[in-house]
Amino acid sequence: MKILLMGNPNVGKSAIFNRLTGANVIVSNYAGTTVEFTKGCLKVAGQNVELIDVPGTYALDPTNKAEQIAVEMLKGRKEEDVVINVVEATNLERSLNLTLQLIKQNVPFILALNFWDETKHKGISIDVEKLENILKVPCVPICAVTGEGVKHLVERIKEAKPSSLGYDEKEKWHEIGNIVDKVQTITHRHHTLLERLSDASVRPLTGLPIAVIVLFLTFKLIRFVAEGLISYVCEPVFENLWSPLMLKLSYFLGSAGFIHDLVIGHLVKGQIDYGQSFGLLTTGLFVPLAAVLPYVFAFYLVLSFLEDFGYLPRLAIMVDTLMHRLGLHGLAIIPMLLGLGCNVPGVLSTRILETRRERFISATILAIGVPCAALQAMVVGLLGKHGMTSLGIVYGTLFIVWIVLGVLLNHTVKGKSPEIFVEIPPYRIPYFRGLSKKIWIRMKWFIKEAVPFVLLGVFLVNILYALGIIQFVGKFTAPVVTRVLGLPSEAVGALIIGFLRKDVAVGMLIPLGLTVKQLIIASVVLAMYFPCIATFATLVKELGFVDMLKSAGIMIISSLIVGGLLNLILP
């Protein structure tokens, strides 16, 4: 037996899924957080059953890829499978549309009335018993984020059955209206503060300043939190606790030799230099845990808050006109923001866009112009001490590339992009537990994905240098790397390793003693020239091999052009 969680977008299916399975699925306050189904396990009446978190859909005729997945899952179900139809209690009329379609399909189901707590603030009262009598299936009020009613929901899963409610398809909305009239009463109430804030953030006169302030504060806060963690926690831990241990180990390993250099790396003036030593246990751990992790944490702290509060779809409205110039619409800002953390979830979330054309354009400009947190952390660490101007050039260049490429692709890729069509959820005060859990999921994911690859990267750097491969390739690529980009031929090592991890690649620039100009060019080129292996695999999966090849061609060519131009222009 399988249980499918189905409902409109942003009604809390993933929150229920997490509650029921103890799994860790990302939950946010906007439509389209879940673009792929997730499976989990749940015990119902002593029996293990599979629970599936299905992407949200308004109707059973799909309008985008995520909805298509939902409809296919419903079609592919077996006789014994049941559906938990999650509806928004504050939006009963709209939600019942899908419910009636499920009834028409003879699907056995029960109804979960989520956001039950919000009905009270909104002056809505629903007679659940009456609703149950009309629909002839169990109806359970719940609040998924706090867990209220969820236990009761599980208990009643076994009562799931096809509803015997009959209705005429032409009279569907009439029928829904009748049901709502019978079970729901609404009392008048005044605008809440959050609603006023919501209105202010979508009107141009107030919304644009709010967008600017939010983005400015986001960057300030991320830097403040990350720099604070690095200076006061991570670096002291590594310098004062880890270094002495590593020096002992270094002595134990004989202070030199291949194994020593692989594990500890080169000592700089008899000391460990986490930027330059390049050993597995020194730089290999310092880069992901002390240099990058604080940025990843700070980034997801702020982003997760904005997501759960419900700001992102409003930002989508404010940037819609700009995004249309790039052949996209406002919603495409969401993959871009996610991409600033890690390109992989960014590329995945391009599925909230309706057409192949939009997904190709957005994934391509994301992979080229949107640097991930790992790369940014290293670039900020490397260039930050040379002043804000050099950092500004890196970010400014990438931003211009992002826009110019989008405009070019919009004019060259065949077809037209559709207009924005997205529900705007109410602002919601994030629950601390939900928020901290989400940040924790993302941090765990980062550590699991990044640390092994960083270690592999550091390992390969040592091997490639020891075997003389980097020096060898360096000679080959010198015409491009040196003449076009103005970098020393050894910098090609960073470009090779950049395919594995961009943070390690930036780290490889440190011992090269580059000038500020060279650092700027190397940072921009590393961000643009090719995605890291994890993003590459995701792009192949999402775009298909042929489109990925096109995308990759654009990446390589544009990075050479931009790097070459910077080399010519910068003093």
Binding site: Y58, A59, D61, T63, T90, N91, E93, R94, N97, K122, I124, W173, I176, S198, D199, V202, R203, P204, G207, P313, A316, I317, M318, D320, T321, H329, G330, P418, E419, I420, F421, V422, E423, I424, P425, P426
Partner: protein, 94 residues
């Protein structure tokens, strides 16, 4: 359908029929017709937004940016072109 009445406010008076795109933010009205094929009408219908329903226009953006409408407790952002296909009879301010 009633034509222009209330001659004192000739532009946005009650009963005026106008597209959602050109309606002013702060006005409400009933949907008369959704034109332009099934695509947009079906998408709106799936959300319960259909002929005869009352909607409020919350906001619009400069340079023909997206429109935000409210129907019941649902707020929906849709592009200017899509909003142009929704014909509304103004019933007043909200």
């Amino acid at each position: 359908m009633s034509k222009l009445n209330g001659s004192k406010k000739p532009v946005y008076s009650m009963g005026k029929q106008i597209s959602l795109a050109l309606m002013r933010a702060g006005q409400k009205g009933n949907i008369l017709q959704i034109s332009g094929g099934h695509g947009i009408a079906d998408k709106l219908e799936a959300l319960g937004i259909r002929e005869g329903q009352e909607i409020k226009k919350i906001s619009e953006q400069w340079m023909k940016g997206p429109i935000l409408l409210q129907h019941g407790n649902t707020q929906l952002a849709l592009g200017f072109g899509l909003a142009s296909k929704v014909l509304v009879e103004i019933t007043g301010e909200y």
